[in-house]
Symmetry: C2
Subunit: 308 residues, 2 copies
């Protein structure tokens, strides 16, 4: 089954558009509970145990998880990553592997192979600075999902993404934001979205959405509103909820009037909820569940779920 169909069916069934980020941090004191570190010793052992407990306590509430590759690479815990994905699949969870890979030709094919064939991810994040050459090798896996970075959640995302891009050959484009003497100006993030829209045209749709989505940070709600209109066939993966400061009010514009169109990721906010709420480390998994229930309530109140 295609990623998008599976994702939308799961969102409807669980009445939840929440994605749990699994970004294990071992070196900062008290993030993964100390008792787990003592009991399981190796990074692979500790992280897998931590992830499995989180999955056990949340899999009925969320359609998808998003492990962040960087941390598994840092701790050389790729075995734990592979086992986590296998375990998530058993528990009816989809997996977006957040790897932001980017390259061309056979190198790009090698990355796609690694994420989809070695790790069995259902979807991944990529960076499309290379243009279509860096996207096609991922699209060639017809049933897999892809999320292209468009407007990232960080403070300096504007350094490059907010520049105005001019398309001299396209002066009548309706989506442009500013005009100056017959020249169409758009910010770079929006032009990246226009490329995604163009690449989506021929892809199969399910409930209006296709396997090619984008990443756009919850910390920029105005841009989210523009993006929802610019890419009507792309799911928006929204990071930045919780720990990065965005709220349910900020993310609501990423959704369409069916209550679809976006998934909202929280990593630290869920994984380390026990710390923030001063709950015993032994109950980190229950604290994560409570946090997701709260988040779900807040988000579902802001979006239109009437059609489900």
């Amino acid at each position: 089954m295609s990623f998008i169909r599976h994702l939308i069916e799961s969102i409807k069934e669980k009445r939840s558009a929440i994605c749990m980020g699994l970004d294990p941090r071992l070196d900062k004191e008290g993030q993964i509970p100390e008792y787990l570190k003592e009991e399981f010793e190796t990074p692979n052992g500790i992280i897998l145990e931590f992830n499995k407990a989180l999955i056990d306590h949340t899999s009925d509430l969320i359609p998808v998880i998003k492990p962040q590759m960087a941390f598994y690479e840092k701790y050389e815990a790729l075995k734990a990553l592979k086992e986590t994905i296998k375990y998530a699949h058993k528990k009816d969870l989809l997996v977006i592997l957040d790897a932001k890979r980017n390259d061309i030709g056979s190198t790009c094919e090698a990355y796609a192979y690694s994420l989809f064939k070695n790790y069995h991810a259902d979807a991944c994040t990529i960076n499309a600075y290379f243009g279509i050459d860096g996207v096609k090798p991922f699209l060639d896996y017809k049933n897999k999902g892809i999320f292209i970075l468009v407007k990232t959640s960080n403070p300096s995302s504007g350094d490059f993404q907010n520049l105005f891009a001019v398309r001299l050959d396209d002066v009548n484009n309706k989506k442009s934001q500013i005009r100056a003497d017959g020249i169409t100006l758009e910010r770079n993030y929006l032009h990246m979205a226009n490329l995604v829209n163009r690449w989506s045209k021929t892809l199969e749709k399910f409930s209006n959405y296709c396997n090619l989505g984008v990443v756009a940070g919850a910390t920029y709600p105005d841009e989210l509103k523009i993006l929802r209109k610019t890419i009507p066939n792309s799911m928006i993966l929204i990071p930045g909820y919780g720990a990065q400061g965005a709220t349910a009010e900020d993310i609501k514009h990423g959704f369409d009037n069916q209550g679809l169109g976006a998934i909202v990721n929280s990593s630290r906010g869920i994984m380390f909820a026990y710390q923030k709420n001063k709950i015993k480390p032994e109950h980190f998994d229950k604290a994560a569940r409570t946090m997701i229930l709260k988040m779900k309530k807040r988000i579902n109140k802001k979006i239109n779920l009437s059609k489900f």
Copy 2:
């Protein structure tokens, strides 16, 4: 010692600006010789043996190698990658790990840690779509080198990189290429280069260059010429020589009048030279050496090495 100092000293000593790409391909028949595949069985074993033989036969002719992370991930041969880097260091070679990582905050720190601390790379490639937030965690390793993607070598690199970016706040910028009614227009790749130039200002220089470089494809010589002027303090890593069709004539504009400023990478052209030149597979390492000698002669004829 800082990467840039070590690199420039080695370029001068070996009179060579050539980088050997190590992108092992196991599945295409006849790329890594069959006899090696039979003798060493596992991807880790085969690839390490292949890389070591190439290093043994070329380390006196080149300052630096560039393993392409994607292939080691595809074949799950990260052990071979680590051992290759260790072996290269013993043979007085610098290592640029081509990983094109990109993220922010603690995630970006985790990538930098993985490349510089787990693999002991001397430098790496990154994608700066995120702006400075995705660059700083790498720059924090003061002695390491960084190459930011600016103008990539692939056919569709223009999809995004060749758009005109407008900076309304900077109408008097001398480096702009086109002007329209007081608005400064620049192509995106050039704006990325301007960001690199800005980020380079405070970094330590050695022979005019700093640890922050760029990647710009040999397949776009006109852009290379513009870049050499735009980023006077950044080394240009030039892929695309050989297999991707670029020649010594194409890459000469990446160099300054001291014969410095660029390193020219060739991967398949060197690694699989035995196939192209119909040499026995058992002599793949000697064929690589012959190819580098030829490449060195061609390149050195085009650049000014008088100051060495």
